[in-house]
Assembly symmetry: C2
Homo-oligomer: 139 residues x 2
DNA sequence: CTAGAGCTTGACGTCGACGTCAGGGTCAAG
DNA sequence: CTTGACCCTGACGTCGACGTCAAGCTCTAG
């Protein structure tokens, strides 16, 4: 399929698809005319790329993962498996930490909402917004 | 305290603190010399700001939250409470969605790790990397 | 008094994943 | 053959939260 169709099927703009190729994440074939020709698996690849990008991985890192991936039977050059696993673990840890931060921030928003909402919910010694909270029991 | 001390106590650079003020997130007093003078609660405020920034909230939004916050007793001007709550809900939903995406991405990394790791773990009909997965049973 | 650390404002630089525009081929339908 | 949709390669623009550098004022210790 050509770039337009892949774009529709993935919800990603053609510009972004060309960018992914430029970063070494996609390797479409070329027609004599110069048009890019994509295969079915590219649809999945793009979804994977989007998922990892959404998680904050840099395209260069995603490129390493893809190029470092031992496809059935072969040992690819470039980053060795140990290095791949190291980077993998690093990103995994970063994601886990980010989830923690997000959870914390969400709790903060809830506190703010509770403080901002009309006294329906809380009328007692109203907890002040985070800018002046009394130590929330955190060591 | 002056900006340097607040920077040390929060782990945030002086440049960032000035930026927060410029965005209306902090309102330190000024000495006759022009030096900024911060209070104790600014320490907490800064931590809150960092938490929300880490969660992807724009400084402008954080500013609305802070300025829209009804401090004990007063009704501030600007964005009304309903609007505040709306924005609050929107950001909350965004955070929840982001957590979902992160969780998904982490799962993907685990799959890649499983595929990349030496056959110790899996030797059976090895699951291919995400770029060529067989439909993972998702509708 | 003087040095040095710390503070001020102002302004330009950075990084990443694209958006957008310009100028120009390709291709299938009518 | 022509039109219109689609594609190509540059190349510059964007947005946000700061980093960094410049030029100059302030404060404190010796």
């Amino acid at each position: 399929m050509r770039i337009g169709e892949l774009a529709k099927r993935t919800g990603v703009s053609p510009r972004a698809l060309r960018y992914y190729e430029q970063q070494g994440l996609l390797h479409p074939e070329r027609r004599p005319s110069g048009y890019r020709e994509y295969g079915e698996r590219d649809v999945r690849t793009v979804h994977g790329i989007r998922t990892l990008l959404a998680a904050g991985l840099h395209s260069a890192v995603i490129g390493e993962l893809l190029s470092g991936l031992p496809l059935p039977g072969e040992r690819p050059p470039g980053p060795t498996c140990p290095e791949l696993l190291t980077g993998l673990a690093r990103e995994r840890a970063r994601i886990t930490e980010t989830i923690r931060e997000l959870t914390e921030a969400r709790g903060l928003l809830d506190e703010i909402a509770a403080a901002a909402a009309p006294g329906e919910m809380i009328t007692a010694p109203r907890p002040e917004p985070f800018s002046a909270r009394r130590a929330p029991r955190r060591s």
